[in-house]
């Protein structure tokens, strides 16, 4: 549990920085990128980018691999994956259920209106007789 908390703290600490979030967002779109590709949109030097990547790496949010002189970075969102799986599972369940709920409630509304109309008509008839 202590390890889990420590890991969670690292993850959140990694995510709280806007530059690191931008890096993650870019990796999400592109799948993977080299370090220099990642650095290019930012007005900061490569060593600063490397520091950000170290933080993301320690948090388990990215993985780096080296081929020759090129370091490729890809998203490794293990800490996020469970949350996304959770969301998808409930999205499927509730989206379909609520559609069915909407259809059911609509039919109940129609029944209620028919009943109300019948009551009103009956009242109308009885007041006509008065």
């Amino acid at each position: 549990m202590v390890n889990y908390q420590a890991r969670l703290d690292r993850t959140f600490a990694a995510l709280v920085d806007p530059t690191r979030r931008a890096i993650l967002a870019r990796l999400e779109r592109a799948g993977s990128a080299t370090v220099s590709e990642l650095a290019s949109p930012f007005a900061i030097k490569l060593p600063a980018i490397m520091k950000h990547l170290d933080v993301l790496d320690e948090a388990g949010l990215i993985a780096r691999s080296k081929a020759g002189r090129t370091v490729t970075v890809r998203l490794s969102p293990e800490p996020m994956r469970e949350a996304m799986a959770w969301l998808r599972r409930y999205e499927r369940f509730w989206s379909a259920s609520l559609d069915r709920l909407a259809a059911y409630a609509k039919s109940r509304e129609a029944a209620a209106r028919a009943k109300e109309a019948a009551v009103k008509a009956a009242k109308g008839r009885s007041s006509n007789r008065d």
């Binding site: 969670l8 993850t11 080296k66 293990e78 800490p79 949350a83 069915r100 509304e109």
Partner: protein, 163 residues
């Protein structure tokens, strides 16, 4: 270069939540009854046209619900929980837990808000995973939404440690 080592133990999901909105052609009281009565629940609960096998609902604060359904693939699932807030016809809050719970072992929380609109009811539905009662995040799907929520969650958890 370091690389990611998958965690040895299964982590509980970071707190997160799902929100869905539906506009329904029925008045709020009818929608509320559909949500909270066994007859109503039997008619819509579940992700496909498989049958609801058990529907129990005692919709008062502290009361419980239990629903078991069979999907078209033959699998059966059961969830139960306790009503935390019951305000007919506008708001319903309940805890949620799957029986067995292999896929989602923890307790989560369901909130439903019903708002009258000209064509009937606007239903806002939120299902939240809980890391603690306070530790909840709001809706949206997708990476950036989830990232933003993790940030907010983190700020909530750590409070002034960050500032």
């Amino acid at each position: 270069m370091t690389s990611l080592t998958p965690p040895a133990t299964r982590l509980t999901p970071p707190a997160t939540s799902l929100t869905l909105v539906r506009r329904i052609a029925a008045r709020p009281s009818i929608v509320f009854d559909a949500l909270t009565t066994p007859e109503g629940i039997s008619c819509w609960w579940g992700p496909d046209d498989g049958p609801v096998l058990i529907a129990e609902a005692n919709a008062r604060v502290g009361g419980h619900f239990r629903v078991r359904f069979r999907q078209l693939d033959g699998s059966e699932h059961e969830s139960s929980g306790q009503y935390l807030e019951v305000r007919k016809p506008e708001r319903l809050v309940m805890t949620w837990r799957w029986l067995g719970g292999e896929e989602d072992p923890g307790e989560s929380r369901v909130e439903v808000d019903l708002r009258p609109i000209p064509e009937g009811t606007e239903l806002t539905f939120t299902h939240s995973a809980l890391s603690s009662e306070e530790a909840r995040l709001s809706h949206e799907q997708g990476w950036s939404g989830a990232l933003d929520k993790l940030i907010r969650q983190f700020q909530k958890l750590t409070g002034d440690r960050l500032s």
